[in-house]
């Protein structure tokens, strides 16, 4: 599978990606060399010790930061040439983010938080737009089992519920790819497993998922693991003993 050559299957293709920070005259080579190909529908974990450049790598892949070297093709196009307008569209339509700190707007309700990306959906046209949006919000909330919490203020939710809201928000625009940086990092193991179950479900539905984690057990829920050490992408392996969070108790 890793060696497949079907061009249009390839979503991400990066070669020798580099990121060097210059702060206060000090150079930090956060990412020295990362090359990989990720196809549509893959569930990839990025692993490595703290400071190895996992987050940096993901920020480059998700256009949050620009690389200082190397090349990056996204969906067949040169990603380094994307302008602000294209990036706004990509972020809104093709990418979903899940952050370690959830990043919900605490004063808004669950519903309004999930709606947030749709507010910036200037691309779905026509009369059915708001109807379509309603449907998507309902579907997203259902996918994470939070329909009954729709009118709750985000600040009153538990950590696990918050992260599920964040997942609902990430998938409400039906993105091609979901980026998650330590999505279980602030959760206990049970809530973490719930999140993994949802991510695996999304993966099964055909979403591409790239997840940063430093826990081996979490990483093994993915189908493939990229290992970083000191900013270098060292190993790229298929997960043989993949874990499935399916036998977890039903979500409440």
């Amino acid at each position: 599978m890793v060696n497949s050559t079907h061009e249009k299957d390839i979503l991400i293709d990066c070669k020798n990606l580099q990121k060097t920070f210059y702060t206060g005259g000090v150079e930090t080579h956060a990412l020295r060399d990362a090359s990989c190909v990720i196809r549509r529908g893959e569930f990839v974990s990025i692993m490595g010790p703290s400071g190895s450049g996992k987050s940096t790598f993901m920020h480059l892949l998700s256009f949050l930061e620009e690389p200082t070297g190397g090349s990056y093709r996204f969906d067949g196009k040169d990603a380094l040439a994307f302008d602000r307008k294209i990036l706004a569209r990509l972020r809104n339509q093709e990418i979903g983010f899940i952050f370690q700190a959830f990043n919900l707007l605490s004063k808004l309700t669950v519903h309004d938080n999930v709606e947030l990306p749709l507010l910036y959906d200037f691309y779905t046209k026509g009369f059915s737009r708001s109807k379509e949006h309603k449907k998507r919000i309902a579907h997203a909330l259902e996918s994470v089992g939070l329909t009954h919490r729709a009118e709750y203020k985000a600040q009153y939710l538990s950590g696990g519920e918050k992260q599920r809201v964040a997942i609902a928000r990430a998938l409400v625009n039906n993105p091609k790819i979901i980026f998650a940086d330590e999505p279980t990092g602030n959760l206990d193991s049970k809530a973490g497993l719930q999140v993994m179950k949802i991510l695996q479900k999304l993966s099964a539905d055909g979403h591409t998922i790239i997840m940063v984690t430093h826990e081996h057990s979490t990483a093994r829920h993915a189908s493939r693991i990229l290992r970083l050490r000191d900013g270098v992408l060292e190993r790229d392996e298929k997960v043989e003993d993949r874990l499935f969070a399916t036998e977890m108790e039903e979500l409440k």
């Binding site: 920020h59 949050l64 930061e65 602000r84 307008k85 706004a88 569209r89 972020r91 809104n92 339509q93 983010f97 952050f99 370690q100 700190a101 990043n103 707007l105 004063k107 947030l116 990306p117 507010l119 910036y120 959906d121 200037f122 928000r169 625009n173 940086d181």
Partner: protein, 414 residues
């Protein structure tokens, strides 16, 4: 349109979260706009009062003021110079139809304030010595009785014609004609009363007691010169020529070479009004400038608040950008917010300014000034316009900074 609604909604949410800070920020705008409205409104009212005066007195009037002064500058008396050079003989010459064909009436004036008494009633009134022609120069109308004659003037007869309010105050329901009143140390016979006339910047006509010019000069004041003279010409278009003829005449009578400046100034009411108007205009724009400073300070306050808002919400903004908000969506949100604050301040300021202008009108009216409060719609349009422009101008920089926020900000400050 949809983006605008979105921005408005967010603006509302943000205000609700920081009511006091928002209010303090708009205080500068409120004060500034209120000042602009007050200044413009009061200024316009004042100018209208002046125009009312012109209509009341007529525009075919010439005034001669004693003492050298520029014809459109303040009179010599304003600098404390009492000039004794203008006499009633000068005015008699001007009344000569052969030399001044356009002059209808000419009157000399002298005035003072004296205690006037009728039986137990007494009060201080303006006493004006005036030529018999004065009734026509001033367009005064008699309510009862008659005005004094040239013969009474020459004979220094002690007769008086009194203004309507003075008559009411002194006589109540009694008939004033034929009654004797005491002005200073002498008794005067009332021969007529005037119809109500209103007041002007020159004084309250209805509280004035008129006596023959010569009587006033010799009996009350003990002088032989005039405070000023007024001349009514047949038509406004002959004012300039008549003014010039008066200058020539007076210079030769006062033995001043024609090439030199006279010891008097000749003015017409229209230009006097213009001078007053231009003075109030200068005042108005000076005060508007002062108010603008308050507005700029208010604008800087808004800018400051928006920059603080940006700092506090940078994570949220980063998140919104990460979720697909475009630079212009964020910038618009900031602009809508700053304009909303500013226009709200403008609305409140307009309201306060409007109230103050009405109050000025009430106070002026209670002081007997025929003040009409003018609340021109343009003033409020202008006030809102200014507020909006300030919101935009001082919102631009924060808006620009907000649209450049990196989506990475969503991940920082954890």
């Amino acid at each position: 349109m949809y983006i605008l609604l979105l921005a408005l909604k967010m603006t509302w949410q943000n205000f609700a979260a920081a009511k006091l800070r928002t209010f303090l920020t708009v205080l500068g705008i409120i004060i500034g706009i209120a000042s602009v409205v007050v200044v413009m409104s009061v200024g316009n009212s004042a100018q209208n009062v002046l125009l009312d005066q012109v209509r009341l007195i007529g525009s075919n009037l010439i005034a001669i003021l004693p003492g050298a002064s520029a014809d459109n500058g303040p009179p010599a008396i304003a600098f404390g110079v009492v000039s004794t050079t203008l006499t009633s003989d000068d005015i008699d010459q001007i009344r000569d139809k052969n030399n001044f064909p356009h002059v209808l009436y000419a009157a000399g004036y002298t005035s003072t304030t004296k205690l006037v008494r009728y039986r137990k009633e007494n009060a201080s009134y303006e006493i004006q010595g005036i030529s018999p022609d004065g009734i026509n120069v001033e367009n005064m109308n008699l309510a009862t009785g008659r005005f004094f004659t040239e013969a009474e003037n020459t004979a220094l007869r002690r007769v008086a014609v009194i203004g309507s309010r003075a008559a009411g105050e002194l006589f109540g329901n009694e008939t004033p004609e034929g009654k004797m009143i005491r002005i200073g140390k002498a008794n005067y016979r009332v021969i007529g009363t005037l119809k109500e006339r209103g007041s002007s910047f020159a004084g309250d006509f209805d509280e004035t007691v008129y006596v023959p010019l010569h009587t006033a000069q010799s009996t009350i004041m003990g002088i032989n010169y005039l405070s000023f003279a007024r001349i009514r010409v047949d038509d406004e278009k002959n004012i300039e020529k008549t003014k010039e003829d008066i200058r020539v005449l007076l210079k030769s009578r006062h033995k001043i070479p024609q090439s030199e400046e006279g010891d008097f100034s000749v003015r017409d009411l229209a230009s006097a009004i213009n001078i007053l108007s231009s003075i109030t205009n200068v005042m108005k724009y000076f005060l508007v400038t002062v108010a603008s400073i308050a507005l700029v300070v208010g604008g800087i306050g808004i800018m400051n608040m928006m920059l603080i808002t940006l700092k506090k919400r940078v994570r949220e903004i980063g998140l919104r950008i990460a979720l697909g908000a475009r630079g212009r969506d964020i910038a618009l949100q900031f602009l809508v917010e700053s304009v909303t604050i500013s226009v709200m301040g403008g609305a409140l300021g307009s309201l306060i300014g409007w109230g103050v202008a009405e109050l000025v009108g009430i106070v002026a009216n209670s002081r007997g000034v025929a003040w009409r409060v003018t609340q021109d719609a343009e003033i409020f349009v202008m006030a809102f316009g200014i507020a909006g422009v300030i919101g935009i101008v001082f919102g631009l920089y924060p808006a620009y900074k907000a649209m450049r926020v990196s989506p990475m900000e969503a991940l920082r400050y954890e």
